[in-house]
């Protein structure tokens, strides 16, 4: 055997099983009562999901809704805690992605699983033959790869090194790799995230072609426009549960948007107490001067230019601005730029009366900007150091601060400051010499808050501040944020939790594709416009 088996239709024992069931009405893949948790987080809760042969099925929802988790379980990358999966009507238990492949199910994830140093052909055949096979005939392999490309209409040079391909071509190879292994159910996770419009069109064409051949395509997405353009059916997830199933004839923007975002007014009978905002907390009357003014900011992301795309935003002293938006629309890049960790391509950031084109941590610190990020816990807490060393880290590292003299740390000064902060932020256990690694997530977050907020900052950027925290910790964080607001700090909160944002904020804004799609005072917010902006359907917003 010198080349992989050629791709033919109707190979006996192949995954035709999945498509043969079309006549009998058997779903290609079915999930029943799937449940999956990560620690305390319930990612999928009693999810039922069916994919028919020869259909394009959209799995729709915001980030954190559980769609990627569902996809990875179907593709054998993750095991469900409860529930069952059926392929072609037969129950299966996937121990590895290889098992799923054998049943004809494959997933193209957001992170590439191709090898840049190999050619396209080599990537396509990787793993299709045993390592013990001594002969790898390049010509035969390339011929097979070329045939595969031709069969699915991809115009690729199979002998080219993968590193020379553009992003959309790489994605083609990812898909072809699965098709070459006889995949009949193709799961794509946010495939258009890095694609330009024209390429997205080409992808859709290809997917329709696959559908004609009897394959099923599951497209995991948060973009309504794609669903409307492409899908035959849509299943909407929210907070890990299936909230809606729609067939194509039922598609309309508003129905989908409200399913995704949950805008029925009943949803917003939010209970302030549950999120730590008590009734008797005075609402600060009116905001002060503009503290943060972002103008036409452009920040490049890891793989794409313009993750933040000419963004303009203002936050005033004594106000909380809540920035909503599905993850992946530029939040990470914006936060990194505002904390001085990522460079700015163009545009300006004004803090108080200082206009900056580039930001660095020291300058931001001196200007009174604090950043708290729960998402990046790895980024923010130094595990090997003690509580006191963490809580005072930036001051201790600064040679100009009071805490060191002639290079030596002044313990007496440290002790006083640390005791104060531990008390103010209620860090438990309260032993300053304990290693931070032994603390719970909530207490670690308090340490970070203690580090960033000890000197009342002018501007606080809180990114996903309560992600992964227990109820008590969440309440504490909310109270702290509001207290700062009352003390005239300008607060920018970025969160995926809409309830949280609406409870905390004075103004809300929606971030979509690197720009503000909608902005309003909380009390006057139009929920319909808000939800539409979240999924890219705002007036004047590009889809």
């Amino acid at each position: 055997m010198t080349a992989p088996k050629p791709l033919t239709e109707g190979t006996p024992g192949s995954n035709e099983e999945l498509t043969r069931g079309a006549a009998a009405g058997t779903p290609a893949v079915e999930a029943r009562g799937l449940r999956r948790t990560f620690g305390e987080l319930v990612a999928n809760d009693d999810v039922d999901f069916t994919v028919r042969p020869g259909e394009i099925h959209a799995l729709l929802g915001e980030n954190g809704a559980g769609k990627t988790t569902l996809g990875t379980m179907l593709a054998g990358l993750l095991k469900p805690d409860r529930g069952e999966i059926l392929a072609g009507g037969e129950p299966v238990a996937f121990g590895s992605p290889r098992d799923a492949l054998r049943h004809g199910i494959g997933m193209v994830q957001q992170h590439s699983v191709l090898v840049p140093g190999l050619t396209v052909a080599e990537n396509l055949v990787l793993g299709t033959e045993s390592s013990w096979n001594p002969r790898l005939r390049h010509r035969a392999v390339e011929r097979w790869a070329a045939e595969l490309c031709e069969r699915f209409g991809a115009g690729l040079d199979v002998s080219a090194p993968l590193a020379t391909l553009s992003i959309d071509e790489v994605q083609q190879v990812e898909i072809l790799r699965l098709l070459g292994r006889d995949v009949r159910v193709l799961i794509l996770d946010e495939p258009t995230a890095v694609l330009a419009r024209a390429h997205a069109e080409r992808l859709f064409e290809a997917l329709r072609g696959l559908r004609e051949r009897g394959c099923s395509v599951v497209i995991v997405t948060h973009k309504l426009s794609e669903v409307i353009e492409l899908a035959d059916r849509a299943t909407v997830l929210r907070h890990g549960r299936v909230v809606a199933r729609l067939d194509r004839p039922e598609f309309n923007e508003d129905a989908l948007a409200s399913a995704v975002v949950g805008t029925e007014l009943a949803e917003f009978g939010h209970e302030p107490a549950a999120i730590g905002v008590s009734e008797d907390m005075p609402r600060h009357g009116g905001a002060g001067d503009v503290v943060l003014a972002i103008e036409d900011l452009v920040v490049d992301g890891e793989r794409s230019a313009g993750a933040v795309d000419r963004l303009s935003l203002q936050v005033r002293a004594g106000e909380v601005l809540g920035l909503a938006g599905v993850e992946g629309n530029g939040q990470a890049e914006l936060i990194e730029a505002l904390s001085g960790v990522r460079g700015v391509s163009s545009g300006t950031v004004r803090i108080g009366d200082r206009t900056l084109t580039q930001l660095d941590p020291r300058t931001l610190d001196r200007l009174g900007v604090a950043v708290v990020s729960s998402e990046r816990r790895r980024w923010d807490v130094v595990q090997d150091l003690s509580i006191e060393e963490n809580i005072l880290l930036s001051e201790l590292a600064d040679p100009a601060s009071d805490f060191s003299r002639w290079g030596f740390l002044r313990r007496s000064k440290m002790d006083a400051a640390v005791a104060e902060r531990i008390k103010a932020f209620d860090v438990r256990p309260a032993d300053p010499s304990r290693s931070v690694a032994t603390l719970s997530g909530g207490n670690q977050q308090r340490v970070v808050l203690g580090r960033e907020l000890a000197h009342r900052p002018r501007l606080l950027i809180a990114a996903y501040p309560t992600h992964g925290l227990d109820v008590a910790a969440v309440r504490f964080v909310h109270r702290t944020l509001l207290k700062l607001r009352d003390e005239a700090t300008a607060v920018l909160v970025v969160s995926a939790d809409r309830d949280e944002l609406f409870a905390l904020s004075d103004r809300v804004a929606v971030l979509y594709r690197g720009r503000i799609g909608y902005e309003a005072e909380r009390e006057k917010a139009d929920m319909r416009q808000f939800s539409r902006a979240m999924v890219g359907l705002g007036e004047g917003a590009t889809a």
Binding site: P97, L114, V115, P116, G117, E122, L126, S131, P134
Partner: protein, 300 residues
């Protein structure tokens, strides 16, 4: 003059070439084997030991290769299964190897005994060429074999499925894992093959030069091979001229007098190979590192 220079160059080059080829195989799979020095030492030891026991030189050479493969599996347990830091583990292994070979040498070997070396094999016609003939084509069989091995390594890496998977393991092990191939298995096999070649290099030191083992006979050649792998950009073909360059530097040191270089202190000539390595590392081939080199793979 030049003839003699070339002849000695080739002889000095063979052990280095074999070690370099072995390390290329290992590193392209993503494992940085600093313990190459120790493996080479063990190979030399095994070869000399077998020679002393009676069976001829060819058997000795094969025994060394077999021992090398076994050591490769042992190192795989450390680096792949137990994810021990490859740099530190390699340094410790070298210490261990130096100690063990010296101790056992003391006990079992007749110090001062010299074995015989491999005889030369003149290739017909080619060895009659002027200048290069005797130098390049009148060498022991092992010398020709090592060049053939360079070709074999190239073939292994580019023309077999094992080689394809090996290269993937060194560049992006996650891709290989999701394609359903065991990364640990591939890396273990790479270590076995690579260390077999390195041990062969150690054996070559014995059977080509002195016929006997002395403590620390490798004297850092394994480390030089690490530098050569970089110069050769992890390609078995480029290893040939790269090794030749280093071998030349070494034989110039030996032949200094014939070149009127007596005035240059021998120590400075001896420094040449290392300085070349430093310069090459600095001038930077960083972009071409196998991307996953030195990082133990864990499926997330």
């Amino acid at each position: 003059m030049v003839e003699l220079l070339l002849t000695t160059t080739v002889l000095l080059t063979v052990p280095l070439l074999l070690a370099t080829l072995g390390e290329i195989v290992t590193e392209r799979a993503g494992v940085l084997n600093i313990g190459i020095e120790g493996v080479m030492l063990f190979g030399a030891f095994a070869a000399a030991g077998v020679i002393q026991l009676g069976p001829g030189r060819p058997v000795a050479v094969l025994a060394a290769a077999a021992l090398g493969a076994a050591l490769g599996v042992l190192l795989a347990v450390l680096f792949v299964a137990r994810r021990v830091n490859q740099i530190v583990g390699g340094v410790l292994f070298n210490l261990f190897a130096l100690g063990l070979t010296t101790v056992l040498f003391d006990r079992y070997f007749d110090a001062g005994a010299t074995g015989s070396v491999f005889g030369k094999l003149a290739l017909p016609l080619l060895s009659d060429l002027p200048v290069v003939g005797p130098a390049l084509f009148d060498q022991p069989l092992l010398a020709y074999l090592s060049v053939v091995l360079a070709g074999l390594v190239w073939w292994l890496l580019t023309r077999t499925w094992f080689g394809l998977h090996l290269r993937a393991a060194g560049e992006r092990p996650r891709a290989l894992d999701s394609a359903g191939v065991s990364v640990g298995g591939i890396r273990t096999a790479a270590l076995a093959v690579g260390c077999a070649l390195v041990a062969l290099g150690g054996a070559a030191l014995v059977v080509l030069q002195s016929g006997a083992f002395t403590p620390n006979i490798t004297e850092g050649r394994g480390f030089i091979a690490l530098g050569i792998v970089l110069v050769a950009r992890w390609s078995p073909w480029w290893a040939l001229p790269a090794v030749a360059l280093f071998g030349l530097a070494e034989s110039v040191k030996f032949q200094a007098s014939t070149f009127g270089l007596e005035s240059v202190p021998p120590e400075f000539l001896a420094m040449l190979p290392y300085l070349v390595a430093i310069v090459t590392v600095t001038v930077g081939t960083a972009a071409r590192y196998p991307a996953a080199l030195g990082v133990p793979y864990v499926r997330e």
